[in-house]
Each structure stands twice: as C-alpha cells, then as structure tokens.
C-alpha cells in the first residue's frame, strides 16, 4: 500500500469490499450448491467402479478413463461428436456470415426485422421444433412425400435418423448464436473503413477478404466457440432427430445413466465432455485475449 493513502481510504476500501461480499453471497451459495457440488459428485463418481449388483463401488480407480480412452467404440463416439461440432460450426459460419453482413449494413428498421427473424428459432420450444423437423424430413415426411409424388426420386431420401437430420437440426438452433456474435463485431467496424477501401479502388470481394474478414475474426472465433460447445453438448436434437442411430457423447451419457445404469462410466463421459469444452474455451481465450 502506498504511504500516501489515508486511513479513511483504507476504511472505505474495506467497506466496499465487505459490501461486495454481501451482495455476492446469494449467488455464490447458489453456484456452490447447484454447480460446484454436483460437478464434484460427478467427478467423484467417475473414479468409482461399476457393479452390476450395487450400481457402483466407492473407491478411486482410473480404470473408467483408461477403458474409454482405449476403446475404439468410445473413440469413434468422441470423434463423431467432435466432427459434428466442427461440421455444424462451419455450416453456421458459411450461412451466418453473409446474413450478419447484410444485417450490420442495413438501416435501423430492416436491421430490427432481420434480427428478430434470425432470433425467432430461439423463441420456439426445442422439442416442438425437433418434431417439426421430423414431420418435414421423416421417411413419410413432407419433403420425401413431395419428391416421390413429383417422381423426382424413386425411394425416400435417407435424410432422417442420421447425421444429415441431426446436422440440419443443430445448424438451425445454432445459427442465431453465430449471427449474433458476428453482427456484434461487424457493427463495431467503422463504415468509413469500407468507404476508404472503396475509394482506393477495392471491389466488394477484396473489401470482404482484406478488411471485413480480418477485422471480424474475434466475432468469428466467439461464434465458432459458442456453436461448437453448444453442439457437442446438445442432447435433445441428436436424440430426437437421430432416432437411436446417431449417438453422440451426450446421448451416450444419457443412456449410460438412465438405461444401462452404469453411473461411473456415464460420469467419466461427462468429465471428458467437460474437459473438451473447457479446452476449446481456453484455446479461444488464449488466441483472442483482449489486447
């Protein structure tokens, strides 16, 4: 502490510190009880051993981790989950960037309308929405039925209960997250930069490639992180749109806990998923720390 600082200052500082602790106490208790404690219990469970008769045997073993990280079945599952996350992220970026560009360059009125439309998927219940996709994409769904009627195809397209339907469903719910992240960054780019580029002779493609894309990298990274983490931990969409044929880490965790009653392996999968998510977030923070 600097010698110039008065006792009154110190008292004031202590008082604001105490006040802050008081304000933050309820939320701290809430998180301790409903976030830290459950995660701690799950972590502990992942070190237990499975037992067919007593469900689990308390103790400390890394056998679950060893088994999962060497079993091709689980490695394929992990690979599929990460691939799905990657695929959905890239599709959201490709679909979302032009839309975000359009939104950020629109007048106030058009902007509001486009933003509300973009966010509208978030306003519909997830399960209702998933069933709507089933109605559309099912074997006897609207799309297949219409194409069959028109004679375009001879047999229903395999667009249901597989990676395609899961990907479409996930892109649909993740797109708003991507677009919002992109718009918030694109909005902060001074429109005079694009005017300057234009006056210097830059065609639209060069303006996007040399000015807008590099300057919106933080938004791309934030949106990609958000969508990736959201996708690899999504449960309802892969469960409903994948039938029982597309399993991801999340659906596997569900079936381990609920169907197989193998809590130790389920808990281990939860911990692996959490670590993957934290790694992605950590990577993002490292690359895009505010400078």
């Amino acid at each position: 502490m600097t010698p110039g600082r008065s006792a009154a200052d110190r008292v004031r500082h202590d008082r604001t510190g105490r006040a802050a602790a008081l304000y933050l106490a309820p939320i701290t208790v809430f998180y301790l009880l409903f976030l830290v404690l459950p995660y701690g219990l799950v972590l502990r469970m992942s070190f237990y051993r499975f037992s067919a008769t007593t469900m689990y045997v308390p103790g400390f073993t890394l056998a679950n981790y060893a088994a999962i990280t060497t079993d091709p079945f689980y490695l394929t599952l992990l690979g599929r989950t990460l691939w799905l996350g990657f695929l959905v992220t890239v599709l959201c970026l490709l679909l979302g960037y032009p839309l975000a560009l359009k939104i950020s360059r629109s007048g106030q009125r058009t902007k509001t309308i486009l933003l509300v439309l973009t966010l509208s998927p978030l306003l519909i219940n997830l399960i209702v929405r998933s069933y709507a996709w089933l109605v559309l994409m099912g074997e006897n769904g609207v799309i297949n039925q219409r194409l069959l009627d028109l004679g375009v195809i001879a047999a229903p397209l395999p667009i249901n209960n597989n990676m395609i339907s899961v990907t479409v469903g996930l892109v649909h719910i993740s797109l708003p997250l991507m677009v919002i992240s992109l718009v918030s960054v694109l909005d902060r780019i001074d429109p005079r930069l694009t005017e300057a580029a234009e006056s210097l002779g830059a065609a639209p493609g060069r303006i996007i490639g040399r000015i807008l894309l590099p300057l919106s990298l933080p938004g791309i990274a934030a949106g990609a992180t958000l969508v990736f983490c959201f996708t690899i931990s999504a449960f309802i969409t892969p469960a409903l749109l994948g039938g029982n044929r597309v399993s991801t880490l999340s659906t596997m965790i569900y079936s381990k806990f609920i169907a197989a009653l193998n809590w130790p392996v389920g808990a281990t999968l939860v911990c692996i998923l959490t670590v993957v998510t934290l790694l992605v977030v950590q990577l993002h923070t490292r690359l895009f720390r505010e400078r």
Binding site: E195, A196, G201, R210
Partner: protein
C-alpha cells in the same frame, strides 16, 4: 464546354441536387475547380459541405445535376472507379495493417506488381516524413502520424482529385497549424487538385487558393480568401468569417451618396448607398475600419470588455443598447481600459451595406 476550359478544369459540377428523403442537402450546386487548385469548402455544420464531398466521392447519389471529373461524367460510376483520394477526419486507417500496408492497399487494388508497389508506397511514406514508421500499426502512431499515413494512402494512387473531410479536425491546435503548412506545401509540390472541407474559417483562409462558403445547401460565395474577408457577398458571410460588425437599424440620408445608420443616440455609421438597398440589409463595419478616440464621459461609448487574441485585442463597446467591437494592438489597447469611454470613428469607404 470549350476545349480550353475542359483542359484546365479538373472538376466541373453543374446543378447538383442531393436529397435524403424529403430533406434537401444540396440545392443546385455549380462549382468548377481548376487543375492543381486547392479549394476549401467552408460552412457551419449542416450546410451541405460534407454531402457535396460524398457526392463527388460517389457515396451519395445525386437526385439531379452532373459531375465531370477530367472531362468525364462520373455520376453513375462507382466510387472505386473514380480514382479519387479520400482523407477522413477519423483517418479511417485499416487497423490490422501496418502503415506501409495501408499505403499499399490502393496499389494492390490496381494490380501494381509487388516490388513496384512496395517502392511507390515507401516513397509516399517518405514524402510525408514517416519512412521509419512504415512497419507500425495505426494504434502505435500518434494522431498526426496517422493523419500523414492517411494522406500518403490517398496520394499514392495518383488520384485525379484529393478530397479531405475536416482532415485536421481531430488534432490539437499546435499540431493543426503545423499540419496546415505541411499539407499546403505537399499539395503545391505535387500539384494535386484538392477539395478541402472545413468549418474553421482560419484554416480555410490559411490553406486554400479559393474559399467556397456554403450555407443551407447552396454556395453563398466562392472567392480568393482575402476577397471573402474584404468583400463578403452577404452579411451572413461577414458574420461567419468574424470579419467585422454586422449592424442594423433605421437608416437616414447622410453626407452626399452616403446612408447613415444610428445604433444608439449619437453613435452613427455611414456607408455608400447601394443601388438596390432594402430595409432588411445590414451594415458591415470591418474591425480594422474602426478608429477609437478617447472621449469625455458624455460622448461616445463605454469600453466593456477586452478579449486577448495573441498580439491583438478585441474591444467591446456599448452605449444605450448599441454594441460594437474592434481590434487593435496590445499597446494601443492600453490607452482604452475597461470602463472608460471612447468615440468610435469608422471609415465610410470601408463600410458597406449587405443583403442578409
């Protein structure tokens, strides 16, 4: 357009009308800028000077009128094909590129070969005295240095026309004066036709070959800087340029051919009677046309304020509701302290009645 006129005219604007919805920003602008000329567009905010600049650059589509650049109509071609250099008040440098990359950008757009482009960009940077900062990014440069990079970026493409939108507005006064000199010298040396938007009359006066004063979307007067001060076309311009007093009141016939205006009992000014005089006209009395003489308490006006402007002083005098200002040197002002009275004598030959 005659051949000779076309040859020395870089920019020719005729009947330009710009409107945003129902708001008319420019109502019929006619302006011709000679090759190599440095013109200042001067006016208060909202007068349309920035709209005019943006219409020339191509970011605003005129509702009517024509813009010819080096003899070619450009109203319908996009900004990127006009070959106009633009310098913004906010610099608008690309933050993710170095100074050199910023300057190179326009050359890359023109597919100038790599080495030639690097050489030309480096030359432009050295022209503005920033060679040793070529590898720095904009945020590592001071405001004045950023402004120089913006200037280098605009001139390296060898534009037909250089447009500057309040380019020095964001700099502090000392730096602004220095940049005014540098900008003017550079413009003379390169001979680039330039159009410079400013709301600062001193800046316009000190830099431009010609000052175009705008008001409410129209050109009020376009003339050499000293002419704007000595012969303002309207009372509004004289007031905006702070060139002297703008007085109004009842007029009577004075000495031969002169019209007399009384601003307070016993305080009168005279000026030649204009041919189309109207009662709404005002009397322009330049600061330097006024002479003060010490007076006894019953005569003249009371000196109420001194305002110091460097080496000169602006004096305010009042009398029964009438007020007037004048300027003199510090030494002269010492003879007229605040609270004393002085007789105001103005040279009628220098005073003029002007329309609104």
């Amino acid at each position: 357009m005659t051949e000779s006129r076309r040859a020395d005219t870089a920019l020719d604007i005729a009947g330009l009308v710009v409107a945003y919805g129902a708001t008319v920003a420019l109502q019929g602008i006619d302006l011709r800028v000679a090759r190599g000329e440095f013109v200042a567009l001067l006016g208060p905010s909202g007068c349309g000077k920035t709209s005019l600049l943006r219409a020339i650059a191509g970011f605003v589509h005129p509702r009517d009128g024509a813009i010819h650049l080096n003899g070619h109509e450009v109203s319908n071609i996009p900004p990127r094909e006009r070959n106009i250099g633009l310098v913004f008040q906010s610099y608008a440098l690309f933050p993710h590129m170095t100074a050199l990359e910023n300057v190179r950008f326009g050359l890359d757009c023109r597919n100038v070969p790599k080495q030639a482009g690097a050489d030309r960009a480096a030359r432009a940077l050295s022209l503005v005295g920033l060679s040793e900062h070529a590898a720095r990014r904009p945020r590592e440069l001071s405001g004045g240095q950023q402004q120089r990079v913006a200037l280098a970026r605009a001139i390296v493409i060898e534009p037909h026309l250089l447009l500057l939108d309040e380019p020095l507005g964001a700099l502090d006064k000392q730096l602004r004066l220095q940049m005014q000199d540098e900008l003017k010298q550079l413009q003379r040396r390169l001979g680039i036709t330039s159009l410079f938007v400013t709301h600062d009359h001193e800046e316009a006066m000190s830099m431009a070959d010609r000052v175009v004063v705008m008001r409410d979307g129209q050109i009020e007067q376009g003339d050499a800087p000293e002419q704007i001060i000595l012969n303002p076309a309207t009372a509004w311009i004289a007031d905006f340029m702070r060139a002297g007093n703008i007085l109004h009141g009842a007029t009577t016939c004075g000495s031969t051919g002169l019209l007399q205006l009384e601003i307070a009992p016993g305080v009168t000014f005279e000026a030649p009677a204009p041919p189309q005089y109207h009662a709404s006209w005002k009397l322009f009395v330049p600061f330097d046309a006024i002479r003060l003489e010490p007076a006894t308490d019953e005569q003249g006006m009371t000196i109420t304020a001194h305002r110091y402007l460097g080496l000169s002083v602006e004096l305010r005098l009042t009398c029964d509701g009438g007020a007037i200002g004048t300027q003199m040197t510090l030494a002269e002002a010492a003879a007229f302290p605040i609270g004393t009275r002085a007789r105001v004598i103005a040279d009628p030959a220098r005073c003029r009645f002007l329309p609104q």
